[in-house]
């Protein structure tokens, strides 16, 4: 099979003498660093840790659902399991996953800057993230929380004796971590671009992270105040959501979903960016309709604020507003479809090669399309009333978040691994992992669409026996999926020492990050680059290489 990978001669190649990794030594040089690349690595380690914590809870949930009876754990333990799974995965993995790791590492390099605009705030946001993570772990040690990740009032304010306030603190702090990351990105992208790096020369990865950052900055504070009010209601009896004092519990839902619906775009938009980069590189073509893809990211961000009440159709909002929100929800399908179509057209007549990142990207396109289209089902008012709070919803958002976002994250990690570490991952085992992940994913979540359509409600630890076959399939799939996620952890760790030396540009990609050494210098560029070509201009790359050959020759 043809490949575009071009590695330096392994017998003579070596890692660069001075890189951001060996520039300084000692644990303190990492914990007090202001280098965006080192902070990205700190994030990478910590979100991987929390991913496997969240994965453990997912495993417990699936194990309980293996049999119809609630035999492995009691109902309230099960409630804690899915709550902790949701909170850890959403606030500590999905929201920071791509922006805080790959975005942190790559955005300054992609725009030709030496660092993010506020390096210390960047470090602060990692510490806030860790503080939020520690509060979540504290909740775990104390005995967990069982509100569901949605903190529905008055359940969370009046009826539960678990550690709601501790968890609320965790989410409040983690929220500020995400605000500061977003703020940093926006300022950096506006103010730190290299000469010649105009808005329409930016890689699409930067555009999509920019859109996600806007959502972080505008949405997260609304969640923060909603969660503060819940905590105040529990601790000192303030009654903004308390029906006995005249408060409206639905107001909490409005404030919560005002953030939490845009939050799913915070999670998925950076993934879109990764896919744009990967598809273009492995098709050797400029992304089809660059401007449309760039603006569709912004459009998704803007529409994101107009659709939140579709999470509340069965909660007692007025039918008229439900109608309006249902119609507005359909709007989001338009920019999402623009992206899918443009990626497909990018591949048309391209010279496609099938390296691991591309396999993950294929997985993303397929799974995200299914996830997105079932989202349109759920946005339709009549369907939603039938399907919401069943496993159909669970399957829908896992298709988008796991099938979409996690695939994109893994695509990005593999794609930029040579740049992050200077070494290649092992190609064949990683292809195997990509395929295992895909198969495991389909096996886990496709049966959930069916079982949800048949009427199995979500968030129950027991279910009628006729649903058992589909649940067993799903649990079996989860095991395969688990293997699919363990494999990259193992071989990526292995490659840190034994991987092939990658050289500057193993994929022959055009981004600025591929024109510098891997791993990069602490200051990224020896001198500020001057950008004179469009994004994804492979002919420019060819010309540059020819010129270099002539000069050397």
């Amino acid at each position: 099979m043809s490949t575009i990978v071009s590695l330096p001669d392994q017998t003579t190649a070596a890692l660069p003498k001075r890189t951001y990794i060996n520039n300084e030594h000692g644990i303190l040089s990492w914990l007090l660093t202001a280098d965006h690349k080192r902070i990205a690595m700190l994030y990478l380690v910590s979100i991987t840790f929390f991913f496997f914590i969240g994965g453990f809870f997912a495993g417990m949930v699936r194990l309980e659902l293996l049999t119809p009876a609630g035999d492995l754990m009691a109902a309230d333990t099960y409630n804690k399991m899915f709550t902790m799974h949701g909170i850890v995965m959403i606030f500590l993995f999905l929201v920071p996953s791509v922006p805080a790791t790959l975005g942190n590492f790559l955005i300054p390099i992609m725009i030709g800057a030496k660092d993010l605009a506020f390096p210390k705030i960047n470090l602060l946001s990692w510490y806030l993230y860790m503080a939020g993570g520690i509060f979540v772990l504290t909740t775990l040690v104390l005995g967990g929380v069982d509100t569901g990740w949605t903190f529905t009032t008055p359940l969370s304010t009046h009826y539960l004796n678990t550690h709601v306030v501790t968890t609320a603190t965790a989410i409040f702090i983690a929220g500020f971590s995400s605000i500061f990351t977003g703020l940093n990105f926006i300022v950096t992208i506006h103010r730190m671009r290299a000469p010649g790096m105009t808005w329409f020369r930016l890689p699409l990865f930067v555009w999509s992270n920019y859109a996600a950052s806007v959502l972080m900055v505008l949405g997260t504070p609304v969640l923060a105040i909603a969660i503060v009010l819940v905590a105040l209601e529990r601790t000192i009896g303030i009654g903004v959501f308390d029906p006995t004092k005249g408060g409206d519990p639905l107001l909490f839902q409005h404030l919560f979903w005002f953030y939490s619906h845009p939050a799913v775009y915070i999670m998925i938009l950076p993934g879109f960016g990764v896919i744009s980069e990967v598809i273009s590189t492995f098709s050797r073509k400029r992304v089809f309709g660059y401007t449309a893809v760039a603006f569709s990211s912004v459009a998704i961000a803007v529409f994101g604020f107009f659709v939140w009440a579709h999470h509340m159709f069965i909660m007692g909002v007025s039918n008229y507003s439900a109608l309006v929100f249902s119609l507005l929800t359909m709007l989001v399908a338009v920019p999402s479809a623009i992206k899918i179509f443009n990626w497909s057209f990018t591949m048309q007549k391209g010279s496609i090669t099938f390296e691991t990142p591309m396999l993950y990207a294929f997985g993303f396109i397929g799974l995200f399309t299914i996830g997105g289209l079932t989202g349109v089902f759920l946005g339709a008012l009549g369907m939603d009333v039938m399907l919401t709070e069943t496993y159909f919803v669970v399957a829908h958002f896992h298709f988008v978040m796991v099938g979409g976002m996690l695939m994109a994250f893994l695509a990005g990690i593999h794609f930029w691994w040579p740049k992050l570490t200077g070494r290649m991952y092992p190609e064949s085992v990683s292809k195997l992992a990509a395929i295992i992940t895909f198969v495991g994913f389909i096996l886990t979540f496709f049966p959930q669409f069916v079982v949800g359509y048949l009427g199995m409600p979500r968030r129950y630890h027991a279910y009628p026996p006729e649903f058992q076959v589909l649940n067993v399939l799903s649990t079996a799939g989860a095991t395969v999926l688990g293997v699919g996620y363990m494999l990259p952890l193992l071989y990526l760790a292995w490659s840190l020492k034994y991987g092939a030396i990658a050289g500057n540009n193993p994929w022959q990609a055009t981004g600025l990050e591929w024109q510098i050494q891997s791993p990069p210098l602490t200051e990224n560029f020896i001198e500020t680059p001057i950008v004179d070509h469009e994004a994804y201009d492979y002919e420019w790359l060819e010309r540059t290489k020819e010129r270099e050959l002539q000069h050397v020759g």
Partner: protein, 130 residues
Amino acid sequence: MSDQVTTNNSLKPIGAEQENLDMHDAPNVMNPEHVAHHIVSPVVYLMIFGILMVGTALTAGMAYVPLGPFNAPVALAIACTKAVFVVLFFMHVKYSSKLVKLTVSAGVFTFLVLCMMSLLDYVSRAWGRW
């Protein structure tokens, strides 16, 4: 873009040589988001302070005048006017780049989206009670 600052004669800074604190640099000046640093004079600050005090007195006074349903709009209108003066002069937005102006508007806009889209539910939930 930089002459928009200097043409404003009524609000001239105290010393023309202090108009810009920074050394200009080429790559930044060509950025459309750039605008020269402008020092607002104490006279302007004092005037704005006066306006805000008048506004405060007006808010408090108007609350005691029975205007029926118009008390709330009047109070809000005065508060908004005061806020606009603070934003434009104390916070220098009048002299800032378009980017900052856009940022302020984005905040107001998103807050209005929150209000309007939520009210859509509350108003239509019980027609006539609003």
